[in-house]
């Protein structure tokens, strides 16, 4: 839900769109070639979403669009009229972290931190997919009711997010803490 509104106009403006980012309504005037990722980073200065490849190959740019995870580099901003977007900045603040962000810190689920916002947004989207019963390549019985997030399931479902620092075992541990309701 929008709490306030903010207009930003790009130098090479062409198309106007309205969308909500982290609960705030924005009217953007932008170049139709602008990816959602660049609109967030360069127009709104929400640089939590990272550009790792600009090609849908790394997951660093993952954000939540209407609750679903998406590679924001692979979609044009102008396609998101009226969409509700949540970035890492909207999940929690350093002084009031989302439980998954806190679990990432506790489990040392990152090193350089560059893939991390994407990992966290991706994990939140992934948990919703699992709750909705979506199967994955690692699901043994795709016809079974409900999804049990085993280690193999988490690893498979998180494999769209590359971590070159290779914090993978710790990322899985942080997500498991949330799945198992471990509050630290």
């Amino acid at each position: 839900m929008a709490v306030s509104s903010n207009d930003v106009k790009m130098k090479s403006a062409g198309i106007g769109i309205a969308l909500t980012v982290n609960g705030r309504a924005h009217r953007l005037e932008l170049d139709p070639r602008t990816s959602l990722l660049d609109a967030l980073r360069e127009l709104l200065h929400l640089t939590g979403a990272k550009k790792g490849c600009d090609h849908g190959q790394c997951g660093a740019c993952t954000v939540l669009v209407n609750g679903r995870r998406i590679n924001s580099c692979l979609t044009l901003a102008v396609m998101h009229e009226d969409d509700d977007i949540v970035t890492i900045e909207g999940l929690g603040k350093p002084e009031a972290l989302h439980p998954l962000q806190a679990a990432f810190v506790e489990r040392d689920a990152f090193q350089c931190g560059y893939c991390t916002p994407g990992q966290i947004c991706s994990a939140i989207g992934m948990l919703a997919e699992a709750r909705a019963g979506w199967p994955s390549h690692a699901t043994v019985d795709v016809a079974a009711e409900g999804t049990t997030l085993t280690g193999a399931e988490i690893r498979e479902r998180m494999s769209g997010n590359i971590c070159r620092c290779a914090a993978y075992p710790n990322i899985v541990a942080a997500i498991r803490d949330i799945v198992e309701g471990v509050h630290r």
Partner: protein, 704 residues
């Protein structure tokens, strides 16, 4: 406090998306955007470059080419560190390697710059270049020295005679491909001129060298250059130095009198940042029937750029790893027309140990001796080539502890003897060793009336944990709670260090800080109740000035154990589990230490199974230049992997007893996986990476 598993102090900023990396600074106002256009030939010259259409393109403010780029200094090749040399860009019509920048287009938006870069019209006269390493190997020459100033060759005893007389021999060639760091954050820079002062927000591991590079390239006073790099999205060697992005941003920003930022695309990184050189290695091991080595030979050939000579110290740790009376190591370079080679995590050890620790496994099978036992039998009492004592050699302990925890005694003794459903299962192991380096560093600590200790250094944190361990060291030395310590690093104006590289950053900066805190405490004691701002500096000297480094052979050690499954029909290879046990002296933070080690081990897994940059030998271009085709491990590739660190303290290394460990995890890790593949299948692949096409033809036929 030191050693505790303290959470990263910069953690909340990073998980909150608030840590600002190079391309993400807004304090200097709205920048313009630069986009690099690269050469589409590997060697030759530009005969015509037409920028008219690009210049007329909407929003374009500048098109920089070799015709209008300001003159810059040429590199001085007598400077040992390549990262301190001038790095001129767009400095002539000659093309030296595929992808070399031919233009920078600067525009008001990224979209405009990217679109206009495609409109730069270039014609070339291509020349025949040399791009094929395998075909050029007989053109190899001996460099004067190899990386880190180590000797090119070494010889002890009489290798030829020793090897000829050995009862059991291994004589094999191994090859490793071009590997890239491919840190998640692309190389990026934003340049801001303020009068004659140049500030560049960069992603750079060693700010002092980066600053020297910029000042000498642009012919300006060193004091006028200010580099800012508070957060670095991974480096792994690829950001030891600055590249085209920083110099181009600086040149363009001066021209347009506005901040300019430039980032490489992921594809450009494959041609503008140096790879780990591809190698061909011959390993010769001669042993008696009891498994004791009588001769060790390690010959390495790798590519180099013709001008920017770079020789990884691939055979260097072979000089310290095992005992043998007759020894020989040699490094040779084959010039090719491609970008300069650069450091990639564990330069030398990573490809060298892939070969040597595979060869040791081959020897163990040839002898019928347990691979763990074979290594223990060849444990030297002193450094076998330098003939000095080891400071803190604990390889055997790592081997034994690892074997025990992993359940090594359960291993399938003969190859291709264990099945689990459709999987052939194998166990493999390898030793890890890495030289510990010490470089110069200065750190300042200041305490104010508010009781907050502020630590300043041009040191960097690329995910290594510097912010956190320095917090621990200062809190420990000053007796303060960690909330009262603030770490300010990543600015070249702060006291100079050797930055992050060669795994030396943590120890260097911690010792210097420890000394600064000691000096500050003395000042506090003498200030007799006069509360006020006090500050002190601490320093550490380079290893070449420290007698202990002459008197002792100082290394870190480890042992890797891996279990793989190989699909009996398709030869698909999956890691099942992996364990590393390490001896690193004192670990400064248990949590960040383990993270670095498991990260390194994962790199070892992918060196064995995944990573390979493939060359188009017609142009020198890397054909698989993106993250979908240059395979790095994803979460599903790393099922169960852990690292254990033995409690320790190396009193010869330094006062804190700490040694570098950011690169140790990769050392030998790939060989453990390769050896497990052999144990699973009976197929020995010596041409890395081990992909299913190389394993499949040799797979045992399954019984019907």
């Amino acid at each position: 406090m030191i050693g505790q598993a303290l959470n990263r102090v910069d953690g909340p900023l990073k998980v909150g998306g608030r840590a600002a990396y190079a391309y993400e600074h807004w304090e200097a106002g709205q920048p313009l955007y630069g986009f690099i256009a690269g050469a589409t030939i590997g060697k030759g010259r530009i005969t015509k470059i037409d920028i008219a259409r690009a210049e007329r393109s909407p929003g374009v403010r500048l098109v920089l080419t070799h015709r209008n780029a300001p003159e810059q200094n040429a590199p001085d090749f007598s400077i040992t560190s390549q990262y301190s040399r001038a790095f001129p860009v767009l400095n002539g019509p000659e093309i030296h390697y595929y992808g070399e920048p031919v233009a920078l287009v600067v525009a008001e938006t990224f979209e405009q710059a990217r679109a206009a870069a495609r409109l730069v019209d270039v014609e070339y006269a291509a020349e025949a270049g040399h791009y094929d390493f395998a075909a050029r190997q007989n053109n190899a020459y001996a460099p004067k020295k190899v990386n880190a100033g180590l000797p090119t060759d070494s010889a002890v005893g009489d290798f030829d005679a020793g090897f000829a007389g050995a009862a059991v021999k291994v004589d094999q060639r191994y090859s490793t491909p071009y590997y890239f760091s491919q840190a998640m954050e692309p190389h990026a820079a934003m340049a801001v001129w303020n009068g004659d002062d140049l500030t560049i927000y960069v992603t750079d591991q060693i700010l002092a060298e980066g600053r020297t590079c910029v000042a000498s390239t642009l012919r300006i006073d060193l004091q006028r250059v200010h580099l800012i790099s508070p957060y670095i999205g991974g480096g792994f060697g690829s950001k030891l130095g600055l590249h085209h992005e920083a110099i181009l941003a600086a040149l363009a920003a001066r021209e347009v009198k506005q901040p300019v930022k430039v980032a490489m695309t992921r594809q450009q990184i494959f041609h503008l940042v140096g790879p780990r050189p591809t190698t061909s290695q011959r390993v010769r091991l001669g042993a008696g029937k009891d498994g004791r080595l009588v001769a060790i030979g390690h010959d390495v050939t790798m590519y180099t750029n013709p001008e920017w000579e770079y020789a990884e110290q691939t055979a260097a740790t072979t000089r310290s790893l095992y005992a043998a009376p007759n020894r020989l190591t040699r490094h040779r370079l084959t010039p090719l027309d491609r970008q300069r080679g650069e450091d990639v995590r564990a330069p030398g050890e990573a490809p060298g140990l892939l070969a040597v620790e595979s060869a040791m496994d081959e020897l163990a099978y040839a002898l019928g001796i347990d691979p763990v036992e074979l290594r223990i039998r060849n444990e030297p009492a002193r450094d076998p080539e330098r003939d000095v004592p080891f400071s803190d050699r604990r390889l055997v302990e790592c081997l034994r502890e690892g074997a025990r925890r992993f359940g090594w005694e359960e291993r399938p003794v003969s190859p291709a003897s264990r099945r689990d459903g459709r999987w052939l299962v194998g166990y493999g192991m390898a030793a890890a060793i890495r030289m510990h380096f010490q470089g110069t560093a200065k750190v300042r600590v200041r305490i104010g009336r508010d009781g907050i200790a502020v630590v300043q250094s041009d040191m960097t944190d690329l995910g290594t944990g510097t912010y956190t361990i320095l917090t621990q060291v200062a809190a420990d030395a000053l007796g303060l709670p960690i909330e009262r310590v603030r770490i300010e690093i990543g600015k070249s104006d702060f006291p100079e260090s050797s930055g992050s590289g060669g795994s030396w950053g943590a120890a260097n900066s911690s010792i210097a800080l420890h000394r600064a805190c000691k000096a500050l405490r003395e000042k506090i004691e003498h200030s007799a109740g006069e509360p006020g701002d006090l500050e002190a500096e601490g320093e550490v000297a380079g290893m070449w000035k420290e007698p202990a480094y002459q008197a002792y052979s100082i290394h870190t050690y480890g042992a890797h154990f891996a279990e793989v499954g190989v699909d009996a029909d398709t030869a698909e290879i999956r890691l099942r589990r992996m364990l590393g046990v390490f001896a690193v002296g004192r670990a400064l933070n248990a949590k960040t230490t383990r993270s670095q080690l498991i990260g390194g081990m994962t790199w070892g897994v992918s060196a064995a199974l995944h990573e390979e940059a493939v060359v188009d030998t017609r142009t020198g271009a890397f054909v698989n230049r993106d993250l979908a085709e240059y395979l790095v491990p994803v979460n599903a590739d790393i099922p169960d992997l852990d690292a254990i660190v033995l409690d320790g303290f190396d009193d010869k290394a330094n006062v804190l007893g700490a040694k570098g460990l950011g690169e140790l995890g990769i050392c030998g890790a790939g060989a453990a996986v390769a050896n497990a593949v052999f144990n699973a299948t009976g197929v020995r692949v010596r041409d890395f990476p081990i992909t299913l096409d190389k394993v499949l033809p040799g797979l045992p036929l399954a019984e019907a």
